[in-house]
């Protein structure tokens, strides 16, 4: 049995092109009092560069979990998800879609493509904070994510 009473600390990669949303979400994580480290990239192509340690992301830490917006420039969330699931190095990282969409087709397509959860961004800040808190509780206390290896930059 794991040390059940100690929340695991996970690093999260937030992929979102909306700066206002990024600020609100990262603040909500801070308020949730869970010491999750949130890294941010602003579009799909950048997300893959981050995950593959390309260019400026050479020493980036592989995240334990990804929060992925759907509508983004250059490469949308579904394209990022498909690329991750086709990549043996990235396919085990849990991906949570975090989007303004509430459409049933987007929900079904997300799970069908290998997303592990679909979260609709609440517009109300208090609700967003509650969602982030429950989210942090779940992924630190209830569910285990695969171990991540700190990639050697050598």
């Amino acid at each position: 049995m794991a040390d059940e009473y100690k929340p695991q600390q996970i690093e999260i990669l937030l992929v979102d092109d909306n700066d206002d949303d990024v600020v609100l979400i990262t603040e909500s994580f801070r308020d949730s009092k869970f010491l999750n480290l949130v890294h941010v990239v602003n579009d799909g192509a950048e997300a893959l560069a981050y995950l593959r340690h390309e260019g400026q992301y050479k020493s980036a830490v592989t995240p334990g979990l990804i929060l992925l917006d759907i509508n983004m420039p250059k490469m949308n969330g579904f394209e990022v998800l498909a690329a991750m699931k086709a990549d043996p190095q990235l396919r085990t990282i849990p991906v949570v879609m975090l989007t303004t969409s509430t459409r049933d087709v987007d929900v079904a397509r997300s799970y069908d493509s290998g997303a592990c959860s679909f979260v609709s961004k609440p517009v109300d800040l208090e609700k967003l904070k509650e969602v982030v808190k429950q989210f942090a509780l779940y992924w630190t206390l209830v569910s285990v994510v695969p171990p991540t290896r700190r990639i050697d930059t050598a």
């Binding site: 799970y111 592990c116 206390l141 209830v142």
Partner: protein
Amino acid sequence: MTTDTVSAPLEILVVDDNEDDVLLLRESLRDMPAVTLLHACDGDDAIAFLRREGSYATAPRPGLVLLDINMPRKNGFEVLAAMKKDPELRAIPVIMLTTSNRDADVVTAYSYGACSFVTKPVNFDRLKLIATHFVDYWTTVVRIPRARD
């Protein structure tokens, strides 16, 4: 938009050969009226239930599957693989619920398409706490695919 206080009803299929564990899980969810627990006792039984074969012709399509790993006949990974290959079943979120906490099992679970990996707590208070957060997450934070009947 997430609904704030009202939880949508949720039917969960628990696939576990350990009757005691199922009983404890049922007990831990007793105060949560939004949740209905359905039970399959091994991997073959789970697949029959999900495909509505034999005595399961009128079985409901569960919103979530809670899947044990070590079971007779067909283990959890085999059930997971079969579900992910089936276009009718592949969108149903599968959460591994197991006594294992081995890194290799966690990695295998996610690589086969599990949505989450939960280690069964040994004590009941802890199980109740986990069950509460679990239900909060899957009913108020997350949207799951609508059952296609």
